[in-house]
Amino acid sequence: MDSVLSLRNLTVDFDTPRGMVHALRDVSMDVPRGKVVGIVGESGCGKSTLIGAAMGLLANNAVVRGGRALFEGTDVLTMSATDLRAIRGRRIAMVFQDPMTSLNPVLSIAQLMTDIQYRDRATSAEQKRARAIDMLRQVGIPDPEQRIDHYPFQFSGGMRQRIAIAMALLMNPSLLIADEPTTALDVTLEAQIIALLRELHGKFHTSILFVSHNLGLIAELCDEVVVMYAGEVVEQGPVRALFHDARHPYTRALLECDPARIAQSTRQLPTIPGEVPNLIHLPAGCVFRPRCSKAFDPCGRNAPNPRPVAEGHATRCYLLGDG
């Protein structure tokens, strides 16, 4: 299978004054070419670290303990700064969470979008501008010929996120990473942005790594899902399999907690009891055991390895037998 991005047994720690934070542990996942892969998990589960590793943008105190992050076959973790820079923006592009702060406030959209094309020395300024205008039109910015000379603050949040998407797709990258691109937007805009991403995916066939904590969005947009909990991939598989045949108790609990799936009207929304474990002092055995309603004898001894459920569907849980 041809993967644009494939993480293999990636383990990343953060060296903090309070101790080593084990942010990612033995994470393996793939983004197949032309597919949309969703990562779902609550805050602090390692989603951002995973993206940082994929982009080679890890914080200075990050320590890669092991594993590889292969982008089109090359390990970004061992790449030189120059080589990394050559990939960023051209082969991998990223859309950030908060469109209100992710665009430079003192540069116009035209300046921002021309700067991204700095590698095309042969292209004239007019051509770069025309290309930017064309991309703005494709993401649904009305009247792009005039609007391109405006500054980010002259656009609404939804429009800014469209601009951010236009910027990301401008160089026709093979992988687009979207880090909770709709979290800062209201629900109507969220639906529009998701529709836009789906439309653009149909048009450009860019592989997308879509990070969210919203299961509904994942179901709508993605081909495959990776469920993360406390720095581990607990379950991954095709979207249908995951939503209809979830095997890991955490995935099941997440699905039960999704307000959109609750059939009966209730005053109390379901929650998963307990708290996310401390990533400095991890519990022995399975990370989800302290909160798991189905925990039994083997869970406390060793952390379970991923075991296959079906083709492309795997989970880390002892409920599926010893494996």
């Binding site: 982009m55 960023r88 702060t101 992710s102 665009l103 406030p105 700095y118 500054y151």
Partner: protein, 314 residues
Amino acid sequence: MWVYTARRLGLAIVIISVAMAMLFFMIYLVPGDPASIALGPRATPEMKEALRAKMGLDKPVVVQFFNFFVNVLRGDLGVDVWSNRSVSIIVVESLPYTLVLTAVGLGWAILLGVPMGCYSAIRRNTWLDKISGVLSVSAIAVPSFIVALYCLLLFAVEWKVLPAIGAGEQGDYWDQFTHLILPSFAIGLGWVGYLARLVRASMLEIMGENFIRTARAFGLAERTIVYRYALKLAILPTVALMGVGVGNLLSGAVFAEIVFARPGIGKLVYDAVITRNYPVVMGAVLVTTALFVLCTLLADLLAAWLDPRARAAL
């Protein structure tokens, strides 16, 4: 933008008017009669009375104040009590020296302070950053007159590489330039440190912003990120502050002109105060005040113009 400019301009006019009123009444309250001073100890009361009438000093205060205001608006700052020359001309003659001195002092501050602050922010916590920090704080803390005296002692007396006093030969630009180096450095040094600290702090803040991370994610060159994406924003508070800085440098120029015996507004005011030449004091101080207000105005407008958000909102 135009509304803001107009409002700012109106405010500047009000400030200058208030400054004029304060100046007028301060001089009015100072003991000593300009007419008696001008005429010397052997003048008769009749002669004094005649001069007082000529200078308008016999009229009520309000009328004097009004006349003063009208005269200033007409560009007439009175006449020098000693030489009978027009104060406006005397001030205009001295002004270029002070302006050049201030501008070069500002030049030192910007040329050394901004890159120093930038470098410190990018290479944060390296030993060069720490050295730059110590140097900046020292530059701020040491009074300019100490710097001036040591500069004189080292460069002019000890090593004899730069001239000590005066402004240089008329028309000989190189000579005038070498005469500028020491005094401008003396007044500008404190601001080098000040700007370095300020730029470092704003750069550190800006470099942590999300849009810098975005620029990195697009693989832009670090040079582009620092100078195009960060410095353009980090420089804004500095620009606004430079208005005040110019005022500070102007007052620094006054003492530098005395220490280095350079012609200029400062020297003019100093000599005029000693000889109780009130019209000259008033004229020179008024022009300096107007200059200061003008610089603050320009700095504010520049800062607003550089920031598209402010530009659009105004």
